[in-house]
Symmetry: C2
Subunit: 211 residues, 2 copies
């Protein structure tokens, strides 16, 4: 528990910095291969060049994701955990060193591919997105409930594959809402772009200060 | 480190019991939704009714997998970790209580869906299988190397979806072998049954006592 409160202390510091600077920080969590990086790639591709956006991406090995994300012209950094199965606030804080946070409107944080551990670590984010792909099965919200319970939005990805997989999207929605009645849901395909209007709308809605 | 040696102590006990009884224990590791349960379902469906096989399946929540697997007539038990992101030897030992291990030819252990942590915990198994699905991306062996390094076989699943996904199977094979030159590979579809001959052959080959 001592370790967790140290995380929460740093997360609170980050949250205060983001709020002071009007930076929207979004934490992306999913199983390996659900399409977090693809979602961010397509999202960055849709932004105007002058948009003040940056990305931190965490993996236990390689900088593959950072390299993919760096192609869109916005600042991107790779956090290499070396073996730790989740990002924590301290890693994010270190990853942000030297970045001009005062001039950042949006900070995307792609977490390590893992449906279990990342959800336990507050990164100071304003919103959490869980990505579930139609190839994974409708019962995942029930089997990994903490991740879906603590998410603000579920992005149901790879809907282009629906004709070819035994996936009941309605059931997946129901399962997500059983675990988290407040969760919002958008259905997208990162390959075809279907559903991206709804995704952009949700994103912009997060930028509006509450109250 | 003290915790890990306790795990290794129990794993060694289990390994000795399996060897004494001639039980082949196989540990199945993958990301959530790659198809571990589907692979085991299809495998059990193909066994003669008299085969002395049993299955332990681990999840953080629900007994969905155990219920699916129980439909084939063989003994199945669910291990509910409650939150722990991997199975360890102690959980397996407890899960086996009351089972007549002397009369077991094969014990399948389905691990918690997670490409990071399960690989660090010896369960006393003879062989480790990592399941990777064609929907996850070819770079997963490089991004989660410990899991692929410590596996004896990679099952590349969902090959029925190859026409619809941007997946280079050859590259996935190369990446797996870069991390683990000794790894064996079979390509299957749990929905169509394609490739299952090779999977069964590998399984039977594990039953032959070494030397
Ligand atoms: N058919 C289809 N494939 C997709 C879609 N989105 C992503 N993919 C593919 O899914 C695979 C994994 O995508 P990634 O973006 O690497 O997934 P990720 O969640 O970032 O993976 P990790 O960071 O390793 O956890 C890649 O082969 C993508 O091309 C989609 O909408 N449809
Ligand atoms: N198209 C296709 N879908 C498959 C195949 N194998 C499994 N699936 C589907 O993939 C989804 C996940 O399968 P599961 O067997 O639950 O995967 P799992 O690895 O056991 O998942 P967890 O235990 O939760 O980690 C389900 O919707 C299956 O129907 C396949 O070969 N082809
Ligand atoms: Mg990624
Ligand atoms: Mg399963
Ligand atoms: Zn973890
Ligand atoms: Zn773990």
């Amino acid at each position: 528990r001592k370790v967790l409160s140290e995380n929460d202390r740093i997360a609170a510091e980050l949250r205060a910095i983001y709020e002071r600077n009007g930076t929207l920080c979004v934490n992306f969590i999913s199983a390996p291969g659900s399409g977090k990086t693809a979602l961010l790639e397509r999202t960055l591709a849709g932004f105007d060049a002058g948009r003040r956006v940056a990305v931190l991406t965490g993996d236990i090995q390689t900088d593959n994701d950072a390299r993919r994300l760096a192609r869109y012209g916005f600042p991107v950094r790779q956090i290499s955990t070396g073996g730790t199965c989740h990002l924590d606030a301290r890693m994010v804080q270190r990853g942000l060193e030297g970045w001009p946070l005062e001039s950042l409107d949006i900070l995307f944080v792609e977490n390590v591919g893992n449906l279990v551990c990342p959800t336990s670590y507050d990164l100071g984010e304003k919103a959490r997105v869980v990505v579930l792909s139609v190839t994974e099965g409708e019962d995942k919200p029930l089997k990994y409930p903490a991740t879906f319970y603590r998410a603000d939005l579920m992005v149901l990805n790879k809907i282009d594959l629906l004709p070819y997989v035994p996936f009941d999207a309605g059931l997946a929605h129901d399962n997500a809402r059983r675990v988290n009645p407040q969760i919002e849901i958008v259905n997208v395909s990162c390959t075809t772009g279907e559903g991206f209007d709804a995704w952009y709308r949700w994103l912009e809605a997060q930028r509006v200060p509450v109250g």
